[in-house]
């Protein structure tokens, strides 16, 4: 067993400090240590995207990163994107446009989509299919997920224009 390491993280705006084995997977840190259970475990081999979070501005599958690699990082999970009473436009769109069924993939999907829309605020359907290809959903057939992201992009762009 390796020596424990002093880790500092900022998760959803909250500073966290603890001792952990460096090889602890970040998804376990979030789910078991910090009780942040929005990011889910679907495969633990970086294929499904259920564990997607944002680390220092990039989409990362939290099952493929050791907590030591995340030391000092800013992490946003679905819980930090919007709460029940202040939904992010993507959250509203997934909810209203049926971008979910069992909902297990949803936190990872939405978290990934927030980055996608930052990278490309006007994605075509093709861009969305390419940009979301790392997130699997077994229920929806993806149609409503693509529609939800398109609708949220339109909504966010309209809001931006109105603000300008």
């Amino acid at each position: 067993m390796s020596k424990k390491m002093h880790i500092k993280l900022n998760v959803n705006g909250k500073a966290e400090e603890f001792l952990a084995e460096p090889r602890e997977l970040l998804i376990y840190t979030l789910r078991e240590r910090l009780n942040i259970t929005g990011p889910h475990i679907g495969c633990e081999t970086s294929h499904c995207g259920a564990c997607t979070v944002t680390i220092n501005g990039k989409s990362v599958k939290a099952c493929t990163m050791f907590v030591a690699q995340a030391d000092g990082a800013e992490i946003t999970t679905i819980e930090g994107i919007g709460g029940p009473d202040d939904l992010h436009p993507l959250q509203t769109a997934f909810k209203e446009l049926h971008g979910l069924q069992c909902g297990y993939c949803t936190p990872g999907m939405i978290t990934r989509a927030t980055k996608l829309l930052e990278e490309n605020p006007n994605p075509t359907e093709e861009d969305i299919r390419f940009g979301m290809a790392g997130n699997l959903c077994r229920c929806t057939g993806y149609q409503n997920i693509v529609k939800s992201i398109q609708a949220a992009a339109a909504e966010m762009n309209a809001a931006k224009e109105a603000a300008e």
Partner: protein
């Protein structure tokens, strides 16, 4: 107020914020222990020695259990008591649980489980259909046979004949949430189990037997699953029982989840099938007789294979009136995972068989397969009884009376609507013009070929085990007018909770927000059936309606007594209660007044599907209350050099009766289609010669990604009501759409066929490798 509304999923707000809890998200006490199975590394034989000292010594391990440590029942089978939780000495497949590790963390348990030192006396495993046939290894006494007329004679007398064989692969469920359970020991030998299961009552039953306690001492709860698809009908038993047994042994809460590899290696999948066929037909492609032999590879234990194989037989006709038919079914026992329920429950495999026959008939005659399909459809039905004749309609007897058209198992088909639906889809999908365009494109002889196919679905709704067609519910109305409902159905993403809540809201004339639906709980509604066979909303919707109506009737009688009116005329709508004389009062006001008058505002409800009966040995009766219909057209573009292809466009018209929630139903159709197309195209299960599943992770087992879904995807609900008196005349929609995916396989076959003269005889899944081999056959390359 009407029920149908495209309301979001009941927990959508929680799902999008990450607040919706699955079993593994439920906070557990700090002293909770974690479990993992030690798995067999051979497919068949006996354990000669099991040295677990290294496992016990591994970091974090608290205890290790073997079959000898189990004080009561060592069984997790849903059917015939043939599935030990932990091996009793015999090894039946590679991946079978040999021992159980109880440790302080999930990872500690998993790591320790790898350190078992088990010696075996190995036997030659029976792995394939051919192995099983050679060894005579099967379940049940012999093949089941359903017959209508003399198929052999009809085939022999027909002007044209074909015969062939198709191999149809299995399918991993790949529910995104793997199997999981949590057991919390209580006072007085009680056990509470949270399980990701479609069948809480069965978990309760198996846990009670394993603990040696009555069922009343076990409470099982399931708020939601992260997908089920049939894979959580029986496959969750092992985890729940393991957790309960370990919790009893240690006195501490125990939790278990399979990591994805274990999940794929341990649990059962869709049955793979070999189907051989012979068919006789006339020059127009009309079938005179068809004979099928279906070989289902069932794996090592019986599980649900009997009803699955039965349902494959019951769908060997799909949408076609077979004048004579013979269906023979073999249930083969092999040293592989015990194949289990998967959306469609054998129906899809049976349907692929007849769709293959029709496709080959059309190819033989040079006809459009869609036209041959229509020529063989059951006759159209009017509102009640048969309507307008078609040229080859059902025969008339001497009195000039039409004999009802029947399936090969004797059920009358009197609700057939596929003629109209196919016509509508043909038009909306522009089928004829696109078929011509594809033919022209292919005539240029390029590398990229196009294929277009339109296939129907007729799917029987009801459990074929008649007694399972029952459901219970519990409804409470509180003094503030809010309503809490509970029923035996489980939520796996299909939107059942929301649909049933809509029913309750409508019965009481309330907004949906006034109704809260709560976790499925064996302490609230007992003796439930699995949420399966697409029957969730049919059964539970009716049971909840019955409970609501009991309370409504009491409230109405109370008003009748206090206001001197007739109870029958009292109506509930818009949050108010109307008396026959036009007076009205708020719902809450009536509730409070009934409460003060000491009238019960709580009721159970119960429903049993009427009019069904079935003799599965003879193959006679009416197993299904009604049929659900759908039709899909899929177009693909195929690269004939690599065998790769993509779906360009899919059009679907599907029958959900009078839909309770059109948005949820369309979601089911889209998801079902993509899952069905995945099954028949990219999802390939491969076992090696030792019986090891080689495709046990998403890196090697490919479910559709967003980039694989059709480029253009048009789904329409057929506008019509169920003729049977189902809940608000809706139809079940969980399973039927999966089989719309058969159109993808047939479209690929169509594209391949354009490469030459020979029939492609494409097996499923149509992986690029198989497609290339089929192209070789079609071109006569002899590959």
């Amino acid at each position: 107020m009407s029920v149908p509304k495209p309301l979001p999923h009941d927990a959508a707000r929680m799902h999008v914020t990450g607040a919706a809890r699955y079993v593994d998200d439920i906070p557990a006490p700090a002293d909770t222990l974690h479990l993992a199975f030690g798995l067999s590394t051979i497919a068949a034989g006996r354990i000669t020695d099991m040295d677990l000292s290294k496992v016990r010594a591994a970091p974090g391990v608290v205890a290790v259990l073997t079959a000898d440590d189990l004080p009561f029942d060592n069984d997790v089978s849903p059917s015939v008591h043939d599935e030990p939780l932990l091996s009793d000495g015999a090894v039946h497949y590679l991946g079978q649980a040999m021992f159980l590790v109880i440790a302080r963390s999930h990872l500690a348990a998993r790591r320790a489980a790898r350190h078992g030192d088990v010696s075996y006396a190995e036997e030659t495993p029976i792995l394939t259909v051919d192995d099983a046939l050679a060894a005579g290894s099967h379940f049940e006494d012999g093949p089941r046979i359903y017959e209508k007329g003399d198929a052999d004679a009809a085939i022999a007398a027909a002007p044209h004949r074909i015969e062939g064989v198709i191999e149809i692969g299995g399918q991993e469920h790949f529910y995104l949430e793997g199997q999981a359970a949590l057991a919390l020991p209580q006072e007085d030998s009680e056990m509470v189990v949270h399980s990701s299961t479609q069948h809480p009552s069965e978990i309760q039953h198996k846990v009670a037997d394993a603990l040696g306690v009555p069922m009343h001492a076990v409470r099982v709860e399931c708020r939601r699953m992260g997908g089920g698809f049939g894979g959580k009908e029986s496959q969750g038993n092992a985890l729940a029982v393991a957790c309960a047994v370990a919790a009893r042994a240690t006195g501490r809460p125990c939790r278990m989840r399979y990591d994805r590899d274990d999940d794929m290696v341990i649990t059962g999948k869709r049955h793979d099938f070999r189907i051989t066929y012979e068919a006789g037909f006339d020059g127009d492609g009309r079938l005179a007789g068809v004979s099928f032999v279906q070989y289902a590879r069932c794996g090592w234990a019986r599980d649900l294979s009997t009803p699955v194989a039965d349902r494959a037989m019951l769908h060997a006709d799909n949408a076609y009136l077979l004048p004579a038919a013979r269906i023979e079914s073999h249930r083969l026992r092999t040293n592989t995972q015990s194949a289990t329920a998967f959306r469609g429950f054998g129906g899809p495999q049976g349907m692929v068989g007849i769709e293959r026959v029709i496709d080959e008939v059309a190819h033989t005659l040079g006809l459009d397969p869609a036209e041959v399909r229509r020529r063989n459809y059951y006759a159209a039905c009017s509102e009640r009884g048969l309507s307008a004749p078609r040229p080859s309609g059902p025969p008339e007897d001497i009195s000039g009376q039409k004999k009802p058209q029947t399936t090969p198992y004797g059920q009358v088909v009197d609700d057939f609507i596929l003629h109209e639906m196919t016509e509508a889809l043909s038009r909306s999908a522009d089928y004829d013009a696109r078929r011509r365009a594809a033919a022209q494109w292919n005539a240029r002889g390029g590398v990229i070929r196009k294929g277009l196919a339109m296939t129907p679905v007729k799917f029987g709704i009801s459990f074929t085990l008649t007694h399972l067609n029952q459901a219970g519910a519990l409804v409470h109305v509180y003094r503030d007018g809010s309503v809490r409902i509970n029923h035996g159905g489980t939520e796996m993403g299909q939107g059942l909770y929301q649909k049933v809540a809509q029913v309750a809201a409508t019965r009481f004339g309330l907004d949906i927000e006034a109704v809260k639906i709560t976790a499925t709980d064996t302490a609230k509604v007992p003796n439930t059936s699995a949420t399966a066979a697409s029957s969730g909303s049919d059964l539970n919707g009716m049971a909840v309606k019955a409970a609501c109506d009991t309370i409504r009737a009491r409230m109405a009688q109370h008003l009748a007594d206090t206001h001197g009116c007739a109870a029958e005329g009292v109506e509930f709508s818009g949050g108010r209660v109307q008396l026959p004389d036009g007076r009205s009062m708020g719902f809450v006001e009536v509730v409070e007044s009934a409460y003060l008058a000491r009238i019960s505002l709580s009721s159970t409800g119960y429903y049993a599907t009427p009019d069904i009966s079935w003799d599965r040995i003879k193959g006679e009766g009416r197993p299904f209350y009604y049929f659900a219909y759908g039709v899909a057209a899929t177009e693909v573009a195929l690269d004939t050099l690599s065998g790769e292809y993509r779906i360009l466009r899919t059009d679907i018209v599907h029958d959900a009766g009078a839909s309770l929630n059109p948005a949820i139903d369309i979601g089911q159709i889209e998801g079902g289609y993509v899952q069905g197309a995945g099954w028949l195209t990219s999802e390939e299960l491969v076992w090696d010669g030792r019986g090891a599943l080689r495709t046990h992770a998403p890196s090697t087992y490919k479910i559709p990604a967003v980039s694989d879904a059709p480029d253009v995807f048009n789904v329409t609900l057929w506008d019509g009501a169920n003729r049977e008196a189902t809940i608000y005349r809706s139809k079940a929609v969980g399973e039927p759409p999966l089989m719309l995916g058969i159109s993808a396989l047939m479209a690929v076959s169509d594209a391949v066929a354009s490469c030459g003269e020979v029939y492609p005889a494409l097996d499923a899944p149509a992986t690029p490798e198989r497609v290339l081999m089929a192209i070789g056959r079609v071109r006569g390359d002899g590959v």
